[in-house]
Protein backbone atom coordinates (compact mmCIF):
# COMPACT_ATOMS: atom_id res chain seq x y z
CA UNK A 1 0.00 0.00 0.00
CA UNK A 2 1.33 3.44 -0.76
CA UNK A 3 1.89 5.62 2.27
CA UNK A 4 2.46 2.92 4.87
CA UNK A 5 5.83 3.53 6.50
CA UNK A 6 8.15 1.00 8.07
CA UNK A 7 8.16 0.88 11.84
CA UNK A 8 11.33 2.71 12.84
CA UNK A 9 13.55 1.34 15.52
CA UNK A 10 13.90 4.73 17.15
CA UNK A 11 11.22 7.37 17.02
CA UNK A 12 13.78 10.16 16.91
CA UNK A 13 16.84 9.98 14.67
CA UNK A 14 18.80 11.84 17.33
CA UNK A 15 18.33 8.92 19.69
CA UNK A 16 20.00 6.45 17.38
CA UNK A 17 23.56 5.66 18.39
CA UNK A 18 26.28 7.08 16.18
CA UNK A 19 27.36 4.24 13.95
CA UNK A 20 30.90 3.61 12.90
CA UNK A 21 29.71 3.88 9.32
CA UNK A 22 30.95 1.96 6.29
CA UNK A 23 34.72 1.82 6.39
CA UNK A 24 35.16 1.60 2.64
CA UNK A 25 34.07 4.01 -0.06
CA UNK A 26 34.55 3.51 -3.78
CA UNK A 27 37.58 5.49 -4.94
CA UNK A 28 36.09 5.90 -8.40
CA UNK A 29 32.88 7.32 -6.99
CA UNK A 30 34.83 9.85 -4.96
CA UNK A 31 37.09 10.70 -7.93
CA UNK A 32 34.11 11.44 -10.18
CA UNK A 33 32.37 13.47 -7.49
CA UNK A 34 35.49 15.51 -6.78
CA UNK A 35 36.10 16.03 -10.50
CA UNK A 36 32.56 17.37 -10.81
CA UNK A 37 33.11 19.67 -7.81
CA UNK A 38 36.17 21.17 -9.50
CA UNK A 39 34.41 21.50 -12.85
CA UNK A 40 31.33 23.13 -11.34
CA UNK A 41 33.38 25.68 -9.44
CA UNK A 42 35.43 26.46 -12.55
CA UNK A 43 32.27 27.72 -14.20
CA UNK A 44 31.43 29.94 -11.24
CA UNK A 45 34.68 31.89 -10.86
CA UNK A 46 36.59 34.38 -12.99
CA UNK A 47 40.15 33.33 -12.27
CA UNK A 48 42.18 30.41 -11.04
CA UNK A 49 43.27 31.94 -7.75
CA UNK A 50 39.67 32.43 -6.76
CA UNK A 51 38.92 28.83 -7.70
CA UNK A 52 41.70 27.59 -5.48
CA UNK A 53 41.24 29.91 -2.56
CA UNK A 54 37.60 30.70 -2.08
CA UNK A 55 35.96 27.66 -3.66
CA UNK A 56 38.00 24.53 -3.10
CA UNK A 57 39.46 25.61 0.23
CA UNK A 58 36.12 26.68 1.58
CA UNK A 59 34.58 23.39 0.54
CA UNK A 60 37.37 21.65 2.45
CA UNK A 61 36.90 23.94 5.44
CA UNK A 62 33.36 22.67 5.94
CA UNK A 63 34.59 19.07 5.79
CA UNK A 64 37.36 19.79 8.27
CA UNK A 65 35.05 21.38 10.81
CA UNK A 66 32.73 18.40 10.84
CA UNK A 67 35.61 15.93 10.79
CA UNK A 68 37.04 17.45 13.94
CA UNK A 69 33.78 17.07 15.84
CA UNK A 70 33.26 13.51 14.71
CA UNK A 71 36.80 12.32 15.33
CA UNK A 72 37.05 13.97 18.74
CA UNK A 73 34.02 11.98 19.75
CA UNK A 74 34.95 8.69 18.07
CA UNK A 75 38.69 8.43 18.36
CA UNK A 76 39.72 10.57 21.28
CA UNK A 77 36.89 10.16 23.75
CA UNK A 78 36.02 13.86 23.68
CA UNK A 79 39.43 15.02 24.88
CA UNK A 80 40.45 18.40 23.54
CA UNK A 81 43.93 19.11 22.19
CA UNK A 82 45.52 22.19 23.71
CA UNK A 83 49.12 21.85 22.54
CA UNK A 84 50.43 22.65 19.07
CA UNK A 85 52.25 19.37 18.56
CA UNK A 86 49.20 17.52 19.83
CA UNK A 87 46.85 18.98 17.28
CA UNK A 88 49.42 18.58 14.50
CA UNK A 89 49.94 14.91 15.18
CA UNK A 90 46.17 14.52 15.42
CA UNK A 91 45.84 15.94 11.90
CA UNK A 92 48.82 14.01 10.58
CA UNK A 93 47.73 10.63 11.92
CA UNK A 94 44.09 10.40 12.93
CA UNK A 95 42.47 12.73 10.40
CA UNK A 96 44.57 11.40 7.53
CA UNK A 97 43.91 7.80 8.54
CA UNK A 98 40.16 8.30 8.59
CA UNK A 99 39.96 10.36 5.41
CA UNK A 100 42.60 8.74 3.22
CA UNK A 101 43.18 5.33 4.77
CA UNK A 102 46.78 5.93 5.77
CA UNK A 103 48.79 8.37 7.90
CA UNK A 104 50.47 11.26 6.11
CA UNK A 105 53.97 10.63 4.80
CA UNK A 106 55.74 13.16 6.97
CA UNK A 107 55.31 16.06 9.35
CA UNK A 108 58.09 18.64 9.48
CA UNK A 109 58.78 21.92 11.20
CA UNK A 110 59.76 24.78 8.92
CA UNK A 111 63.38 25.85 9.15
CA UNK A 112 62.94 29.45 8.09
CA UNK A 113 60.02 30.53 10.25
CA UNK A 114 58.94 29.50 13.71
CA UNK A 115 55.28 29.41 12.83
CA UNK A 116 55.48 27.11 9.79
CA UNK A 117 54.86 23.39 9.69
CA UNK A 118 54.59 21.07 6.70
CA UNK A 119 52.70 17.86 6.10
CA UNK A 120 54.03 16.08 3.03
CA UNK A 121 52.52 13.40 0.89
CA UNK A 122 53.97 11.64 -2.13
CA UNK A 123 50.63 11.97 -3.89
CA UNK A 124 47.41 13.26 -2.36
CA UNK A 125 44.46 10.94 -2.81
CA UNK A 126 42.38 13.72 -4.32
CA UNK A 127 45.06 14.33 -6.96
CA UNK A 128 45.48 10.69 -7.91
CA UNK A 129 43.74 10.90 -11.29
CA UNK A 130 44.18 14.60 -11.97
CA UNK A 131 46.68 16.01 -14.48
CA UNK A 132 46.92 19.79 -14.28
CA UNK A 133 47.19 21.38 -17.76
CA UNK A 134 50.31 23.47 -18.33
CA UNK A 135 48.42 26.73 -18.69
CA UNK A 136 47.02 26.55 -15.17
CA UNK A 137 50.39 27.21 -13.61
CA UNK A 138 50.73 26.30 -9.98
CA UNK A 139 47.11 25.41 -9.35
CA UNK A 140 46.73 22.44 -7.06
CA UNK A 141 43.49 20.59 -6.34
CA UNK A 142 45.10 19.77 -3.02
CA UNK A 143 43.68 23.13 -1.95
CA UNK A 144 40.68 21.05 -0.93
CA UNK A 145 42.83 19.11 1.53
CA UNK A 146 44.44 22.35 2.70
CA UNK A 147 40.92 23.57 3.44
CA UNK A 148 40.18 20.43 5.46
CA UNK A 149 43.30 20.99 7.56
CA UNK A 150 42.41 24.65 8.05
CA UNK A 151 38.90 23.65 9.13
CA UNK A 152 40.23 21.23 11.72
CA UNK A 153 42.82 23.66 13.10
CA UNK A 154 40.52 26.66 13.13
CA UNK A 155 37.78 24.90 15.02
CA UNK A 156 40.23 23.39 17.47
CA UNK A 157 41.40 26.87 18.44
CA UNK A 158 44.58 27.05 16.37
CA UNK A 159 43.88 29.57 13.60
CA UNK A 160 46.25 29.17 10.67
CA UNK A 161 46.74 29.86 6.99
CA UNK A 162 47.03 26.57 5.13
CA UNK A 163 48.08 26.13 1.52
CA UNK A 164 48.98 23.24 -0.76
CA UNK A 165 52.11 23.26 -2.92
CA UNK A 166 53.80 21.01 -5.41
CA UNK A 167 57.44 20.39 -4.53
CA UNK A 168 59.47 18.91 -7.39
CA UNK A 169 61.62 16.00 -6.30
CA UNK A 170 64.79 15.10 -8.09
CA UNK A 171 64.73 11.66 -9.59
CA UNK A 172 60.94 11.52 -9.55
CA UNK A 173 58.61 12.29 -12.40
CA UNK A 174 55.75 13.58 -10.26
CA UNK A 175 56.27 16.32 -7.69
CA UNK A 176 55.52 15.73 -4.03
CA UNK A 177 52.68 17.65 -2.42
CA UNK A 178 53.27 19.71 0.72
CA UNK A 179 50.55 21.21 2.90
CA UNK A 180 52.07 24.33 4.42
CA UNK A 181 50.57 25.43 7.75
CA UNK A 182 51.33 28.92 9.01
CA UNK A 183 49.95 29.51 12.47
CA UNK A 184 48.62 32.87 13.64
CA UNK A 185 50.54 35.02 16.11
CA UNK A 186 48.19 34.30 18.99
CA UNK A 187 48.77 30.57 18.73
CA UNK A 188 52.51 30.93 19.15
CA UNK A 189 52.16 33.38 21.98
CA UNK A 190 49.77 31.06 23.78
CA UNK A 191 52.07 28.13 23.19
CA UNK A 192 55.02 30.04 24.59
CA UNK A 193 52.97 30.98 27.68
CA UNK A 194 51.86 27.44 28.36
CA UNK A 195 55.45 26.38 28.06
Amino acid sequence: MIGVSKIKQYSNVLDKPLSKGKQEVSLSAFAFLFSELVQYNQTQVDNIAELERSRLEDAGYAVGARCLELLCHREKGNRRETRLLGILSFVHSTVWKVLFGKVADSLEKGTEHEDEYMISEKELLVNRFISIPKDMGTFNCGAFVAGIVRGVLDNAGFPAVVTAHFVPMEGQQRPRTTILIKFAEEVLRREARVG
Binding site: A31, F32, L37, S131, I132, P133
Partner: protein, 141 residues
Amino acid sequence: MAAIYSLYIINKSGGLIFYKDYGSAGRMDTNDTLRVASLWHSMHAISQQLSPVLGCAGIELLEADNFDLHCFQSLTGTKFFVVCEPGTLHMENLLKYIYELYTDYVLKNPFYEMEMPIRCELFDINLSQAVQKDRVALLGR
Protein backbone atom coordinates in the same frame (compact mmCIF):
# COMPACT_ATOMS: atom_id res chain seq x y z
CA MET B 1 58.84 -10.08 -28.75
CA ALA B 2 56.77 -8.52 -31.51
CA ALA B 3 56.35 -4.76 -31.52
CA ILE B 4 53.55 -2.23 -31.54
CA TYR B 5 53.72 0.37 -34.28
CA SER B 6 51.06 2.83 -33.16
CA LEU B 7 48.01 3.40 -30.99
CA TYR B 8 44.91 5.41 -31.89
CA ILE B 9 41.93 6.46 -29.82
CA ILE B 10 38.89 7.84 -31.63
CA ASN B 11 35.78 9.38 -30.11
CA LYS B 12 32.11 8.63 -30.81
CA SER B 13 32.02 10.82 -33.93
CA GLY B 14 35.19 9.41 -35.45
CA GLY B 15 37.56 12.23 -34.54
CA LEU B 16 41.05 11.31 -33.44
CA ILE B 17 41.60 12.18 -29.78
CA PHE B 18 44.85 10.37 -29.13
CA TYR B 19 47.68 9.10 -31.31
CA LYS B 20 51.00 7.63 -30.25
CA ASP B 21 53.58 5.92 -32.39
CA TYR B 22 56.26 3.57 -31.18
CA GLY B 23 59.15 3.13 -33.54
CA SER B 24 59.59 4.56 -37.02
CA ALA B 25 57.73 1.81 -38.84
CA GLY B 26 54.27 3.17 -38.20
CA ARG B 27 55.07 6.86 -38.12
CA MET B 28 52.72 9.23 -39.97
CA ASP B 29 52.23 12.96 -40.04
CA THR B 30 49.24 14.55 -38.32
CA ASN B 31 47.02 14.87 -41.38
CA ASP B 32 47.51 11.23 -42.30
CA THR B 33 46.68 10.10 -38.79
CA LEU B 34 43.44 12.08 -38.86
CA ARG B 35 42.58 10.49 -42.21
CA VAL B 36 43.31 6.98 -40.96
CA ALA B 37 41.15 7.61 -37.90
CA SER B 38 38.09 8.77 -39.81
CA LEU B 39 38.66 6.06 -42.42
CA TRP B 40 38.69 3.38 -39.75
CA HIS B 41 35.63 4.86 -38.08
CA SER B 42 33.64 4.62 -41.30
CA MET B 43 34.90 1.13 -42.15
CA HIS B 44 34.01 -0.06 -38.69
CA ALA B 45 30.48 1.26 -39.06
CA ILE B 46 30.03 -0.18 -42.56
CA SER B 47 31.28 -3.59 -41.49
CA GLN B 48 28.54 -3.76 -38.87
CA GLN B 49 25.95 -3.40 -41.63
CA LEU B 50 27.66 -5.73 -44.11
CA SER B 51 28.16 -8.59 -41.72
CA PRO B 52 26.36 -11.83 -42.70
CA VAL B 53 26.14 -12.70 -39.03
CA LEU B 54 23.49 -10.96 -36.90
CA GLY B 55 24.60 -8.88 -33.95
CA CYS B 56 27.99 -7.95 -35.30
CA ALA B 57 29.77 -5.31 -33.26
CA GLY B 58 32.29 -4.27 -35.90
CA ILE B 59 35.79 -5.24 -37.00
CA GLU B 60 37.97 -6.57 -34.21
CA LEU B 61 41.01 -7.72 -36.15
CA LEU B 62 42.44 -6.79 -39.52
CA GLU B 63 45.34 -8.92 -40.74
CA ALA B 64 47.54 -7.71 -43.56
CA ASP B 65 50.98 -8.67 -44.94
CA ASN B 66 53.01 -6.19 -42.94
CA PHE B 67 50.79 -5.42 -39.99
CA ASP B 68 47.87 -6.44 -37.81
CA LEU B 69 45.23 -4.01 -36.61
CA HIS B 70 43.37 -4.85 -33.39
CA CYS B 71 40.33 -2.77 -32.47
CA PHE B 72 38.35 -2.51 -29.26
CA GLN B 73 35.11 -0.57 -29.06
CA SER B 74 33.75 0.43 -25.68
CA LEU B 75 30.02 0.47 -24.88
CA THR B 76 30.03 4.24 -25.36
CA GLY B 77 31.40 4.11 -28.89
CA THR B 78 34.98 5.13 -28.15
CA LYS B 79 37.35 3.02 -30.24
CA PHE B 80 40.85 1.99 -29.27
CA PHE B 81 42.95 0.44 -31.99
CA VAL B 82 46.56 -0.58 -32.25
CA VAL B 83 48.66 -1.25 -35.34
CA CYS B 84 51.30 -3.88 -34.67
CA GLU B 85 53.61 -6.45 -36.23
CA PRO B 86 51.85 -9.50 -37.66
CA GLY B 87 51.42 -12.17 -35.06
CA THR B 88 51.72 -9.99 -31.96
CA LEU B 89 50.02 -11.60 -29.00
CA HIS B 90 47.89 -10.21 -26.16
CA MET B 91 46.75 -7.10 -28.02
CA GLU B 92 43.13 -7.50 -26.88
CA ASN B 93 44.22 -7.49 -23.26
CA LEU B 94 46.43 -4.50 -23.88
CA LEU B 95 43.53 -2.61 -25.44
CA LYS B 96 41.29 -3.44 -22.49
CA TYR B 97 44.01 -2.28 -20.12
CA ILE B 98 44.40 0.97 -22.06
CA TYR B 99 40.64 1.43 -21.77
CA GLU B 100 41.01 1.11 -18.00
CA LEU B 101 43.77 3.74 -18.03
CA TYR B 102 41.50 5.96 -20.11
CA THR B 103 38.63 5.68 -17.63
CA ASP B 104 40.99 6.38 -14.74
CA TYR B 105 43.32 9.14 -15.87
CA VAL B 106 41.28 10.85 -18.57
CA LEU B 107 37.66 10.60 -17.49
CA LYS B 108 38.35 11.38 -13.83
CA ASN B 109 40.38 14.44 -14.77
CA PRO B 110 38.29 17.57 -14.19
CA PHE B 111 40.27 19.45 -16.84
CA TYR B 112 39.45 17.07 -19.66
CA GLU B 113 36.59 17.98 -21.96
CA MET B 114 34.69 15.05 -23.39
CA GLU B 115 35.45 14.13 -27.02
CA MET B 116 38.42 16.52 -27.10
CA PRO B 117 42.07 15.53 -27.74
CA ILE B 118 43.63 13.89 -24.69
CA ARG B 119 46.31 15.99 -22.99
CA CYS B 120 46.71 14.25 -19.66
CA GLU B 121 50.19 13.77 -18.26
CA LEU B 122 49.21 10.86 -16.02
CA PHE B 123 47.61 9.01 -18.93
CA ASP B 124 50.81 9.36 -20.97
CA ILE B 125 53.01 8.18 -18.10
CA ASN B 126 50.93 5.10 -17.35
CA LEU B 127 50.48 4.30 -21.02
CA SER B 128 54.22 4.21 -21.69
CA GLN B 129 54.64 1.93 -18.70
CA ALA B 130 51.98 -0.40 -20.05
CA VAL B 131 53.37 -0.59 -23.56
CA GLN B 132 56.91 -1.47 -22.61
CA LYS B 133 57.71 -4.82 -24.11
CA ASP B 134 57.97 -6.87 -20.96
CA ARG B 135 54.68 -5.51 -19.61
CA VAL B 136 52.79 -6.61 -22.72
CA ALA B 137 53.90 -10.18 -22.12
CA LEU B 138 52.60 -10.02 -18.56
CA LEU B 139 49.15 -9.01 -19.78
CA GLY B 140 48.65 -12.41 -21.35
CA ARG B 141 47.80 -14.11 -18.09
